[in-house]
């Protein structure tokens, strides 16, 4: 597990988010080191997904700021420019619970689209790279299929390839296996495990405790919009400091 460097790649500084009077996130700060795999666990409604979505500004935090590779992402975090948003999102890959592949495009085109539109690669280079990534996630024969012709597990692996195509510095996973049968979930988790081994920095919102335990370098337990417990998987799973952590872990592990 020495792939983690000491370099802080992402710094989320005092992120808060409220909808009207309802505070979803209360002053969450997180330093992410390059190569680190962080698992965000916690009960439903704890704010895990909201926090993840604040990192690429799919949700705009009510207060707080982001530093990426030591540089402020936004001149004014509360009123980011379109250009700043686009630049941030091009550096972070995201995988959604419901895959969100583009149904009107083939699998290959799904992976090519942003590469060419963002001016990252020529069409031919983008297609070659897409094929390489499809092979990496074990689906080279699905290139010309439509997403609707793929199973849920296959769609999620394609979605991972699509995000990787932009060579992100960090990958965000929002409950990537929650919509899948346990058996199917394993094929996605394997791709994620392989990715972690390549040294990719990953932040994963998950209910898969075994994945968190085995793959994550650090586990964060969120509850009520705050980080309740934080540590290595061993610390959090075997030696939790908070009573709430114990009851949560008991509930999910005894399912």
């Amino acid at each position: 597990m020495d792939k983690t460097e000491n370099r802080v790649i992402l710094n989320a500084n005092s992120i808060s988010k409220s909808y009207g009077a309802h505070d979803v996130l209360k002053d969450i700060s997180l330093e992410v080191h390059a190569g680190e795999v962080i698992a965000l666990i916690g009960p439903s409604g704890a704010g895990k997904s909201t926090f993840l979505r604040c990192l690429n500004y799919l949700e705009h935090p009510t207060s707080g700021g982001l530093t990426l590779d030591g540089e402020q992402v936004f001149r004014n975090p509360l009123n980011p420019s379109k250009q700043e948003l686009v630049q941030l999102r091009r550096r972070l890959g995201m995988v959604f619970q419901s895959f969100n592949l583009f149904p009107h495009l083939s699998v290959l085109q799904n992976i090519v689209l942003a590469q060419t539109l963002n001016g990252k690669r020529s069409k031919q280079e983008a297609e070659e790279y897409a094929m390489k990534l499809l092979t990496q996630v074990g689906l080279p024969d699905k290139a010309s299929a439509k997403p609707s012709q793929c199973s849920g597990g296959q769609q999620q692996r394609i979605a991972i390839a699509r995000a990787l195509a932009l060579d992100p510095e960090i990958m965000l996973f929002d409950e990537p296996t929650s919509a899948l049968d346990p058996e199917i979930a394993d094929e996605v988790l394997k791709v994620m495990r392989d990715l972690a081994e390549t040294g990719m920095t990953m932040i994963v919102v998950t209910h898969e405790m075994r994945f968190a335990e085995r793959v994550a370098d650090r586990v964060l337990l969120l509850d009520g919009g705050r980080i309740l417990e934080e540590g290595t998987p061993e610390q959090v799973f075997t030696n939790p400091t908070q009573e709430r952590t114990k009851t949560f872990l008991q509930a999910v592990l005894n399912r």
Binding site: L58, K82, L88, R90, F96, S98, F102, L117
Partner: protein, 218 residues
Amino acid sequence: MNGISIETLFSGIGAGLSITVILTVVSFVAGSVLAVPLALARTSHLWGLRWMAIGIIDICRGVPPLVWLLIIYYGISPLIALEPLPAALIGLSLISGAYLAENFRAGIDNVHKGQREAAMALGLTPTHQFWRVVAPQAVNIAMPPSASYAVSLLKDSAKASIIGVADIIFMAQLEVSRGAPAVLVFSIAAVLYLLVGIPLSYFSRYVDSVVRRKVVTV
């Protein structure tokens, strides 16, 4: 019946068929073009633009087509000599633009919000998010109701005869004024409308079934 045969009636009334088809096709195409900026304005987050679009759409759809045609024909022709056909084309294009804009708007609204989020997360610009991800799916969703609108547009085009456009109905009335029996004449007109309308509605059902296979609800 001084020498009136069904054949001559058919060819007499049928002379208006091409005008009816032109009215339908041209105003559908022009309406589709008009509908795009209208639908964009209708879904804009700028409230001024949005309300302007809502106003235009409501007015175009709320006033009966016949009244529109009369207003445009009598309102504009004194200013710039306007023939009945162009006047009818302008009127029907505006009306179909309003109806199709509502279809396009519904299409845009019904694209799953995860699609736009995925496009955002990939760092696409707002323009690319819309034109490369949302719009192609919105068009698919808007296609079936728009194809069935073409059938009602075909029927609405009959109103153009009021301002003197030489369509099927206009030619039919001409035959009646020459002494042909009205029921026979208008039955022939009905058959001519069905000749175009039935294939059109089959086509719209076909489009619907194709799109149903193509659009995936995420």
